[in-house]
Symmetry: D4
Subunit: 176 residues, 8 copies
C-alpha cells in the first residue's frame, strides 16, 4: 500500500538542490515508500510553500524532508505550518561551506521543532524518514533491519577486499 | 495507554546533562507520553549503552532522545545499535560553545541516521518525539495541534502585553 | 507629517528582542519618525507575520526593520511578502554568539534581498532606516546631517575629556 | 528620467571585484535605473574614495553600493563621508571564504550604518537599491512587483520542468 | 621480533580512510614495526569494532591508531573498550574541512583519553606510535634518533638546494 | 619503584597553567606515578625549555605532558628536542576560547609528532601518560583497569542516585 | 631625547579602547619613549583621522599603534595615508570575540601593510614599537635587552615560588 | 650601501613556503634592500633556527620576516631569541585555510612580540620591513613614497581601462 501514494513529502528550496536528494530518493525507492518531490522556495514562492505545508497532512504525507542551502529557513517555515515531523537536510553552499545552511536549520526557537541530518547527508534523510514510518509500519521496519545487515555485510566485504589488495601489493612489509 | 509505560527513551551521556532535559520532560508530561531517563555514557559505560540500545525496541520504546555534550558520540552509537528514530540533543559545553557537540552529532556517516535539534533545545527534542509518535497516534496529534494554538495565543498575548507596557512608559514619542 | 503615523515598521521575532531595539526607537524618536513595534514570530505566528508583511505597504510603512535571534528567518520571510526595503537586525544568542542569527539573515537567495546591520547594532538599524527615508524626505536628511555633526562633536569632546583625565592622573610619564 | 543620469553609485575596492557586480548591473539595467561604476580603493586611493563619497549626493546619487573583499572597509569609509544609504556587498576571498569581508563590513560601530547583503549576492545588492529607490519612485515600484511575479513564475516553471524530467527518467519508482 | 607480529593496530572507520594511512604504514615499515590494518566502522559495524577493541591487548597490540573522518567517534569508542593508548588521526572531510573530525575526536570526556595528531597527519600518527613503543624498546628508540637525524639532514639539504636554485635564477638582485 | 623518581615530566608555559594540571597530578598521584612540574616558557625562557627537553630522557622521564594556552608552541618545541612521547594539553584562553591553543598544538608538521588531548582535559593528559607507561609496566596497567571499573561503578551509581532523586521529586508524572 | 617629544603615536578608534592601551603605555613609560594618545574614529571623525595620519611624520612620529575593536579599519586607513610603520592592536569585542577585529585588521590588501599583534596584546604592541625604534636607537636597544633579562628572571622566580608552594602543600605525593 | 649586504633576514619553516615569499623578494629587490633567505624549521632544525636568531643582529639584520604554515611557531621562537622586530607571514594551509597559521602566530604571550601581516600577504611583509627600515633610512623612505604614488597611479589607470572596456562592450545600458 505504501507503494500506491506518496507518504513522504520531499520539498526543496530550489531545483539546484536536486542532486542532494538523489540518495534520499534511492533509499525510499528501495524501501518501497512512495514520495513526492516539490520545489517551494520559502522566499520566492512563500504562498506556494505555505499551502504545501498546510495541505501536507491532508494529502497523506506522514513525514516531510525539507532541503535547502544558504540562509533559507525552508524547514523552519514548513514546520511552522504543520505538526508533521520535518527533517531538515542542509545543502553545502559555496560561500560558507554549508555552515550557514546548518545554522539556519538547526537553531529553531523552542516550540517549533525541526530535526536536522548532516550537511549533504541525503541518504540519512531518507533513512530517518523510514525510521519514523517504521514506528507504526512493520514492513518498513523489516526492510530497515535488512538494510542494516546488508550495510554491515557490504562494509565488511569492502574492507576485506581492500585490505587484501593492500596486502597483495606487497608495498608494506610491516603489514601483518 | 501511553501513560502506562515509557515509549520515549531519554538517554544522557552524563548526569550533568539533566538540566538540558527539564523542558523535554515537561513537554512529554504535558502530552501524557510516558518516558524513561537513563545515563549511559558512551565512553564510561559502553556496554551498558550498547545493551540499552539493543533492548530499546523490546522495552517498548518507539523513539529515543540522546543527549550529550562535547565530543560524545552517544546519539551515533545508540543509532548504530537500533533502527528506532534517534533524536540528538547537543548540549552546550564550556570549551567550544556546543559546536563540538553539534558537529559530533550531526555529521553522521551515510547509512546510520541521527536527526539533531538545536544546541540546548530540550523542548524541541520532546516536541519532535511527540510529532514522530503522532504519525500513528491521534491523541498525541490532537495534543500537538492544541499545543500549537496555545503557543500562538501565548505569543500574541505576551506581545500585546509587552508592547502595551512600552507604550504606557511614554518613553518613546515616535511609537504609534 | 512623519510624526503623525508610523512609516517604519519594527517587527521582532520575540518579546525578548525588545532590549535590542531600544536604541533603534531612540534614534527614530530623535528624528521625529513615527514607527510601530510588533511581534510576529515567523515560526509561532506564521500567518500573523505573513499578513503583517502583505499589509505593510498599505499601512503606510516605507521601511521595515526585522529583528531576530537564532535560526530565525524573520527578515527573509517578511522580504518574501513585500518589496519594501527590509533591514535585518541580528540579535546575539547564547549558543552561537549571534553568528547563527547573522548567517540566517545575511545569505538570502538571489531575488529576495535583505540588508543586514551588525549583530546587536540597533542604533544603526534605525539610522539606516532614516537614511532610506532621507532619499525622498529633506527634513530627515537635515536631521541626519545634524546628527553626524553632533556625533563628531561628541566623539571629539569625549576623547578630549578622557585624554585630559589620563594626563591629569600623572600615571604615564611618557604621555606627551 | 531615471534613465538619463546615474542615481546609483557602484564603487568597488578593486577591478577584480567586477565579476561580483555583473548581476547588480543587469538588475539595474532591467529596471531602467542609471548607475555609475568606479574603483576607489580605500587603501590605495584614500583621497579619491573620500572625494567620491563627499561628492556623491551632489552628483545625484541616491544610493551607494560598496563592493569589497578581504579586510577592506570600503563600505564603512564611504558611509563615514555621506548620509546616503550605503549597501555593502562582500566578495568571497580565497584566504578566509569571505568571512573576513563579511565581518569587516557588517560590524560597523554605532552611528555610521552600513547594511550588508550576502557574500557574493550581487543581484540582491541591485534589488535592494531598487527597493530603496521605490520608496519614492512608483515606476521602480511597479517594476519590482513585476520582477517578483516573473521570479515566482520562472521558479514554478523551472520546478515543473525539472520534476517532469525526473519523472520521465523513470529512475525512481517511488516518485509519485 | 617486532617484525614477526603486529604490535600496532591501525583501525579505520572506512576504506576511504586508506590514503590517510599510507604515510603511517611507511613509517612503521621503515622502523620494522609490525602492524595490522582493519576497518571497523563504529556505526556500521559497532560489534565488530567492540570486539576489535576488547581483543586488542590479547592479540598483542600495544598501541592503537584510530582513523576517522566526520562525526565518527571511532577513536573514542575504541578507547572506551581498552586501556591501550589510542592515537586519533582525524581525516579531512569535504563538508567541514576536518574540523568536525578534529572536534569529534579531541574533546573526549574526562576518564577516557584519546590523544590526537593533526588533521591528515598520518606520518605523525605512526611516529607517535613508535615513540610510545620506544619507551620500552631500545631498538625503536635508536631508529627514532636516526630518523630525526636524517630528517634534519634532508631538511638542510633541501633548503640548500632550493636556495641555490633561487640564487642561480638571478631573478632576485637583492638576494645576498 | 615508580614512586621513587619522576618518570613523567609536566612542563607548563606559565604558572597560570597550574589549575589546568590539578587533575593531571591527582591522576598520577593515584596511580603512584612520580612526576615533576616545571615552568619553561617557550618564548620567555627558550634556552631553559631547550635544556629541559634535551635532558628529559637522561633525567629518567618516559613521557612529557606539555601544557600551554594561546599561540604557544611549547609542546611542539619540546617535541623538536626529544623523541619521548609528548602529550599536548591545550588550555582555554580568554580571547579565542582555546581554539588558538588547540590549533597551535595539533597541526604539527610531519616528522615531529605531538598528540593532543581536549582543551582543559587535564585528567585525560594524566591518564594517557599512564596508558603509555602501562605498555611496559604491569602495575600501572592493573591500576588503569581498576580505575576504569571504579569510573564505571561511580558513573552508574551517580546516575542511579540522580534518577532516583528526580523520581522522588514527583515533578514529572510521565517519568516511568 | 626620546623623553622630550612623542615619537610613538597611539591612536584609538574610541575612548572605550583605553583599557587596552594601559600596558602599551606602561611599556613605553618604562623605556622612556615619548608618545601621544589620540582618539580618531575612522567612521565618526574620518577627516580628523586623515589629518592625523597625513601629519604624523611631520609631528615627529616614527611608529603608529592603531587600536580598534569590531569592523573598524582604523589601522588600515591610517596606513593608507602614511608610510610610517602601523602596528594594529585588535581589541576584543563582545559580539564576535575579537575575531572581527582581528580579521578586519590583518587581511590588508597588498600594497598597504599593517602588522598586527594578538587580540588584546597591548604590551606587545608597545614592545614591538620599541623594537622598531631600537633598529636605529641604541638606548632603546639596551633597554629591550635588559627587559628580556628581567622578564626571564621574573618568569623563573615566579615558577620557583609557585612550584615551591605546590610542594609545600603536600597535596601531591607523586610530585618529586 | 643597503645593496651590499643583507639587512632583512627572511626565514621560512619549509622550502614549500618559497612561493609565498616571491612577492616579498620582489619588493625588496625593487627597493634595493639586501636580504637573505634561509630555511630553519622550528621543529626539524630547532638548533639551526636558534643559532639563526641568536646571530641575526651580529650578521647585520635589522628586521626578520618569519614565514610559516600550520601550527608552526617559527616567528614566535625566532622572537624568543632576538629583539629585532619579527614580522610574521602566515601561509595558507590546506587543512584549516591558514587560520591555524594565523592563530599560531598572532596570539603571542605578552613580553615577546611578533607583528603579523595577512595570510599569504608576502608583498606586505616586504613593504612593512621597508617601512621599519625607512624610520632611519631616508633612501628607503623616498622609495616608499614613490611606490605609493605608482601604486595609486596604476590603480587609477587599471580602473579607467577596465571601466572603459565595460562601457565599450555596450552590454549595460544603465551604465552612465
Amino acid at each position: 500500500m505504501t507503494k500506491e501514494k506518496p507518504i513522504v513529502g520531499i520539498v526543496c528550496g530550489s531545483v539546484s538542490d536536486f542532486p542532494a536528494i538523489e540518495e534520499t530518493m534511492k533509499v525510499l525507492d528501495m524501501f518501497g515508500i512512495g514520495y513526492s518531490v516539490d520545489v517551494k522556495s520559502a522566499h520566492r514562492l512563500p504562498d506556494d510553500m505555505r499551502r504545501y505545508a498546510l495541505e501536507a497532512e491532508e494529502k497523506g504525507y506522514r513525514v516531510i524532508i525539507a532541503v535547502a542551502g544558504g540562509a533559507v529557513d525552508l524547514s523552519g517555515m514548513i514546520a511552522a505550518y504543520t505538526i508533521l515531523p520535518v527533517i531538515g537536510l542542509p545543502v553545502k553552499t559555496s560561500a560558507l561551506s554549508g555552515l550557514d545552511s546548518l545554522y539556519s536549520m538547526v537553531q529553531m526557537p523552542e516550540g517549533i521543532p525541526v530535526a536536522v541530518v548532516g550537511i549533504g547527508r541525503g541518504k540519512n534523510a531518507g533513512l530517518f524518514a523510514a525510521e519514523v514510518l517504521a514506528v507504526s509500519d512493520r514492513k518498513v521496519r523489516s526492510k530497515l533491519l535488512a538494510y542494516r545487515e546488508e550495510l554491515a555485510a557490504k562494509t565488511r566485504e569492502d574492507a576485506k577486499k581492500n585490505i587484501g589488495k593492500m596486502r597483495a601489493s606487497r608495498k608494506h612489509p610491516g603489514l601483518k
